[in-house]
Amino acid sequence: MHEPAWFRWARVIVLSLLGLFAIAPVYVMLTASLKPLPDVEGAFRWIPSHLTLSPFIDMWQTIPLLTYLENSLIVCSVASVASVIVALLAAYAVSRYRFHGRQVFSVTILSTQMFPGILFLLPLFVIFVNLSQDTGINLYGSRTGLIITYMTFTLPFAIWMLAAYLDTIPRELDEAATVDGTGPLGAFIRVVIPAAIPGIVAVLIYAFMTAWSEMLFASVLTNDSTRTLAVGLQGYATQNQVYWNQIMAASLTVSVPIVVGFLLLQRYLVAGMTAGSVK
């Protein structure tokens, strides 16, 4: 496909500017993570006058960073995968079927995005406490409660967005598959899902990151051993001191697996089946 020269230049310039915009604070975080504490709040220098690796060493001791990292990885992975699965089923229904109550369902779940978290927080906690007593499943102070909560938090957007991605996949694809007699679910799994991989990956990333950064509910639903990173990182703000350099060091460190994950997943953001099946 022919790319005019002006386009190539525009691409370089625009992408570079956007890249600088994205990366500038990361550079500041990096320099802050290598400074002794009094220097962090001092005047910004491109190359810090005193460099030290101690924040990267101390950060594992000041808070149980490894435990928190583990908890976050477990909770977010399970919650995001579970959310995408539930959302896919619902999105398929919303996208492919015109059933009674479709609008009501869609708008109702969207309305949950309009309510501030703090209003859900206390009633939810009370529900979890009651449920834990009645059923014996420990829903607070455990990862389970948090997983269920996060799954649900990401459902509305996941359903809406997956339905939108499915809407961009022509129905003829479904029909073509059902000619084989595999029924709608079979068509869904064998044909539609592969065509929707980019959308599914995008929504999976969204669900994971939403759970990863959620602070409010995690603060109340976890305890010492199940605490996640979003809350745990606040432990660097102690009674007497806020260890800014360790916060930066820890934040950069825990983001490395995430960024690696992005690098691996962005491979799926490529044109899939629909592009290939046109005659």
Partner: protein, 322 residues
């Protein structure tokens, strides 16, 4: 002009036909069955707590009654009256906060979509290092909010921050301006929120672009459309469903966002950047005045619901006329 696209689909060749499977669900109830897990979860985690939250708005739920909600006196609409009484200080402050939040949301929304769309289109065709570029753009999205926004706070400090350092050394300003207080604090908030939001728009739009068959672009360019024309006539119409949802949720999330303004400014944001989520939090929940906070939140919910319904209705009408 490329209007509607009829896509010819090939029929996949012969899998051996099998006898029709017996369904264990009633014909026509499949969509409902598919919805069951979502509905159950939503009811438990979202809907019931939300209804409880709405119920609280009719109670005088202060810290005296936290322990025993059922004893809280019924307040009728008095919590709402406090919020909408625009002649009182509280009401006026709420109105001001609301106005600031709307303007800020619309600007961030427009910026995030533009940047996201530009980046998505420019990275659509493979080039060397595209994977790295895409990942680079997603880094703001990967970083923990608290750390990254606090970093912006450091960067925007007048005397010690990187931004003023840069502006002064490039001679773009004569004296160091304030970014965290005063007039420019609004723009600081916009830029920081934009920085966090546009990568997400980029992600969603990139995924959306993947379902557009490449030969449609071929066809359009043969019709004489340049790159911008192709974007206008091929890309935008085909990602319309994705765009519809993206713009709506970006609006809702930015409007309701708490962590970015709170982390950037602390608990007392400047009045130019008095975002409504913080405003409600500071005026009610911080002092355990859940009744008032709830009423303000319900009013907000109604407003956003109205916006959503209008937006969806307009969208449906637009689609019909396409």
């Amino acid at each position: 002009m490329v209007d509607t696209i009829r896509v010819k689909q090939g029929v996949t060749a012969s899998a051996p036909s099998s006898p029709p499977k017996r369904r264990w669900w009633r014909r026509g109830s499949l969509p409902y069955v598919l919805l069951i897990p979502a509905i159950l979860l939503e009811l438990l985690i979202h809907i019931i707590p939300m209804l409880a939250g709405v119920g609280i708005s009719f109670l005088q739920l202060t810290l005296f009654y936290l322990r025993n909600w059922r004893a809280a006196p019924f307040a009728g609409f008095s919590n709402y009256a406090v919020a909408v009484n625009f002649s009182s200080a509280t009401g006026q402050a709420l109105l001001h906060s609301f106005t600031v939040t709307i303007i800020y949301t619309l600007i961030v929304l427009a910026g995030a979509w533009l940047f996201g769309m530009a980046a998505a289109v420019l990275t659509q065709r493979a080039f060397r290092g595209r994977g790295a570029v895409r990942t680079l753009f997603l880094i703001p999205y990967a970083l923990p909010v608290f750390a990254s926004v606090i970093t912006w706070n450091f960067m925007l400090q007048r005397d010690t921050g990187m931004v003023n350092q840069l502006l002064m050394s490039l001679h773009l300003v004569g004296s160091r301006p304030f970014w965290l207080i005063g007039q420019d604090s609004f723009w600081s908030l916009v830029i920081v929120q934009l920085w966090r939001t546009w990568p997400f728009a980029f992600l969603i739009l990139t995924a959306g672009l993947q379902s557009i068959p490449a030969d449609l672009y071929e066809a359009a360019s043969l019709d004489g459309a340049g790159i911008l024309g192709q974007v206008r006539h091929v890309t935008l119409p085909l990602i319309r469903p994705v765009n519809r949802v993206l713009l709506l949720v970006l609006f809702l999330w930015t409007f309701n966002d708490f962590s970015v303004p709170f982390t950037l400014f602390g608990s007392a944001p400047p009045s130019q950047a008095d975002i409504i989520s913080i405003h409600i939090y500071e005026n009610s929940f911080v002092s355990w005045n859940f009744g008032t906070g709830s009423a303000m939140s319900v009013l907000l919910l109604l407003f956003l619901l109205l916006v959503t319904l209008v937006y969806l209705a307009l969208g449906r009408r637009g689609a019909r006329h396409a």
